[in-house]
Symmetry: C2
Subunit: 263 residues, 2 copies
């Protein structure tokens, strides 16, 4: 783990959905968010996955609040079906009622009129948000995102449909995240085991403590292949220096550099 | 969320690795484990992702223990590099020292001899496990899994390399998981919105409360496509009855059944 400075913009992600807990859906939303937050300068400290259960959602958010992040992002549970319970959980969390937001209700009515769809109770459910919350309009689907605050921690709820989640994040959340840039390089190495590169990683990280080097081993056609991810929030220069140093040290072993990718 | 009976075998998954928090790697390990646990009859209640940090690992495990699951499965952090810290965290968690396991040390020496690799300190690091822990040997890589117990909760640590994790789970953990079977079907529906199928789902779930129906909407070439996942732990019969009832009700709307998959 990189050192956490006081100035870090710390983010926690909470993914909501039974489908994640039964292993039906891979949590690519959390990966996308984590990558975007990291590149914007934020630091994701924890990702939590809970089911479609009001008590579980509230518990997970309250536990995250106690760790005092700068921002909590939830995804999922904002749609029209019985198991979309995030708004109910958020309202209970801040002890406010769910109230109809007329701007959203009007948008729902207008879009339904245009598409010749019924304005039923299930669609209008998506216009109910916790009283006092700030709304982020959804341009793709109907369910809006909301921003609420508890104990000085900002909590943003985004829909679980990936395209909607991404659009709402980019428009409403990305501008809130600040921090240092993220610089990275990737190195793919053959014929050297993780246990043999471990001391090279130690050496390089001792000489250049601003970089973090992570190794990911796998076997390809009976051959050991190591993917090294070298990154830093200091400068691209330190990352490139670390890459150079690793390459030099690997050349002194029987390992081979297969590929070097600019990040 | 399905109703949690007292007899449920509840599992929590804790994924360890900075690469997950920066969005470099999609957490397919958690999805695979969640799916396997579900099919074996267990219920995954929560998935938590933390970085390579002893304090964070201990916190996440202690928080999970407080929720009294039957089993906690961790993945990652067992390898030879500086940031593989799970064994250290587990030892601190149960207040025991890390001790060399001579069986593992001998296996490491023997495999190195066979492959003409040095038996260095980094490789031998993988033979150190918390005193008193039960070891699950790794047949693919070197890092073993371990089983420890705290406050009557079993904690299993598995490696993060997917093939190793899967093999260790199947041999050492799967036999520990018991519970009711999982029955499922999938239905793909066109030209009906989630907000319009929501009341059909309500109706069917009211008539057959043992099934859970989850809808996953997406847009394909400007067309609405809904994937419905229908599942139960009761019997395949109730799932098939629910599917039949949904199909009948959809036929009364302008929606079309595109595909029906047996689970």
């Amino acid at each position: 783990m990189e050192k956490n400075d006081k100035k870090d913009f710390v983010v926690e992600i909470i993914s909501i959905g039974e489908e994640l807990l039964i292993g039906k859906i891979v949590n690519t939303n959390a990966t996308w968010l984590a990558s975007r937050v990291t590149k914007l300068g934020g630091k994701v400290r924890r990702i939590t996955v809970v089911g479609d259960d009001v008590y579980e959602i509230i518990s997970a958010i309250n536990e995250a609040i106690k760790r005092k992040p700068n921002l909590i992002i939830t995804t999922g549970g904002l749609g029209p079906t019985f198991d979309d319970k995030t708004m109910e959980a958020l309202a209970k969390l801040i002890n406010k009622p769910l109230k109809i937001n007329h701007e959203i209700a009007n948008i729902i009515r207008e879009r339904c009129l245009r598409k010749n769809l019924p304005v039923n109770e299930k669609r209008l459910k998506m216009a109910y948000v916790p009283e006092g919350s700030k709304v982020i309009l959804n341009r793709i689907g109907l369910a809006p995102g909301v921003i609420i605050t508890k104990n000085n921690v900002k909590i943003v709820a985004l829909p679980g449909v990936p395209d909607e989640m991404k659009d709402l994040f980019n428009r409403g959340i990305a501008p809130l995240i600040c921090g240092e840039k993220f610089f990275e390089e990737e190195l793919i190495v053959e014929d050297i085991y993780e246990a043999d590169i471990a001391s090279i990683i130690d050496e390089v990280m001792n000489k250049i403590p601003e970089v973090y080097i992570k190794s990911h081993p796998k076997i390809e056609d009976d051959k050991v292949v190591l993917k090294l991810h070298i990154y830093s929030r200091r400068s691209h220069e330190v990352v490139k220096n670390a890459v150079k140093m690793i390459i030099e040290k690997i050349c002194l072993t029987k390992g081979k550099i297969r590929h070097c990718l600019a990040g």
